[in-house]
């Protein structure tokens, strides 16, 4: 469904604008035909299985390539996400680290060093983007509707639905647009652009698995286009579990009493 060359090197760098033009032209010409049907939208969220997701757990491998600082890092660990609530991460590689973010802020615990950092800032709630993406991509609208984004255009052909959204007005993304491509109930691509079409970020979602009737991608590639370079985030999930509540994994992170978290001004 997606242009295969979209992630190839020739689509990056100086020719990116042209590449996006080509991509959009392909989408406009092939996916959004003038005779596009407009029947899929009313049920976009009505039967969304992702709405039944309350807890998502699993293991992850995240590779982050940051061209701006010439850094590549791979992190392996496990996560537990209480939807719209707490996120717990347990990092195993490259070092042991436990992180918990909720409405109380962010707590980072280093078991090997017996040290902890604390950020008492509620704005940090739900701050781990790659975990949120796992949840949001289980929803055909990427949860944009709930975030306040406005649907401005849509078209469908067969079981493919493309929706175009304007960013939530009261957020920094108010001047941006989002384009989502879903095949059936499976979200396969999300694009974020500035009002003039300049790409900000795009996410390709792959290898969906159905758990308890909920479709979740087991892999995604996120490309973030910044002034100082491109950032590529490749995340793979496995051993995914949905709606299993275990207090040990989804409760608050409690370092040993001897460990006094050091507050960090965030």
């Amino acid at each position: 469904m997606l242009p295969k060359g979209a992630s190839s090197p020739r689509f990056r760098g100086a020719g990116r604008g042209t590449a996006w033009g080509v991509w959009l032209s392909l989408v406009a010409g092939c996916v959004l035909s003038p005779s596009a049907e407009a029947t899929a939208l009313p049920s976009l969220r009505a039967n969304a299985s992702g709405d039944r997701l309350s807890v998502l757990q699993g293991r992850f491998r995240r590779t982050l390539v940051d061209q701006a600082v010439c850094d590549t890092q791979t992190v392996v660990g496990s996560f537990a996400y209480v939807v719209h609530g707490r996120v717990r991460l347990t990092v195993e590689t490259p070092l042991r680290q436990e992180l918990c973010v909720d409405d109380q802020g962010l707590l980072i615990y280093y078991p090997d060093e017996q040290r902890a950092l604390q950020v008492l800032d509620p704005r940090q709630a739900l701050a781990f983007r790659f975990v949120q993406i796992a949840h949001r991509s289980s929803l055909p609208d990427f949860d944009l509707g709930a975030a306040g984004a406005t649907l401005i255009d849509y078209a469908s052909r067969g079981d493919t639905l493309e929706t175009r959204w304007a960013g939530p007005t009261s957020t920094p993304w108010r001047d941006q647009q989002f384009v989502l491509v879903a095949v059936g109930s499976r979200l396969v691509h999300a694009t974020q652009t500035l009002a003039d079409g300049t790409p900000v970020m795009d996410i390709e979602l792959l290898d969906h698995v159905v758990l308890d009737g909920i479709e979740i991608p087991q892999r995604f590639t996120l490309r973030e286009h910044g002034p100082s370079g491109e950032r590529i985030e490749v995340v793979q999930f496995w051993e995914l579990r949905v709606n299993q509540t275990s207090p040990d994994s989804i409760g608050p992170l409690n370092p040993p009493d001897a460990v006094k978290p050091v507050s960090v001004e965030w």
Partner: protein
């Protein structure tokens, strides 16, 4: 006639305000900005040194200060402070000075204790500095605009 008098009074008030703002900007704020760029103590540079104890498990981690500054440029948008400075003058600068830029928590996953501390510190400094500079620019631009409008209306 009354309307014209009111307009002249308003222009006069704006001129006085603009003069005060420009004076304040030149005499106090810009030097303050320059001071903010200086090391806070002899021997301390703005570039954070890498952690004293290199992490045993993540030796490939880039300099946290470089990452923090780069991320601040990437994620922090000072445009709003420029607009605020343009419209509200000193209040825009005060808001920028009081701002609390928020580093992305995503970036600290898999990073060691010292790296996180240095990263957040550099991110905040860089983002706050950018916000203050933008507010000052907006403030100066607003003042200049006010003066230009006044001059165009024959105020000088």
């Amino acid at each position: 006639m009354r309307g014209a008098n009111t307009g002249s009074s308003a222009l006069a008030v704006r001129l006085v305000s603009a003069c005060i703002l420009v004076t304040f900007l030149g005499a106090f704020v810009l030097p303050l900005q320059a001071l903010a760029q200086l090391p806070s103590s002899p021997g301390q540079t703005q570039e954070q040194t890498p952690p004293a104890t290199p992490p045993a498990t993540d030796t490939s981690a880039p300099d946290p200060c470089t990452s923090g500054k780069t991320d601040a440029k990437h994620y922090n948008s000072p445009t709003g402070y420029m607009v605020f400075g343009f419209l509200c003058g000193i209040f825009g600068f005060i808001a920028a000075a009081a701002s609390s830029p928020e580093p992305p928590a995503d970036r600290v996953v898999g990073k060691d204790y010292q790296w996180v501390q240095a990263y957040t510190d550099c991110y905040r400094k860089q983002a706050k500095s950018a916000n203050q500079s933008a507010a000052c620019s907006g403030w100066a631009l607003g003042s200049a605009t006010t003066l230009a409008i006044y001059a165009a209306q024959g105020g000088f």
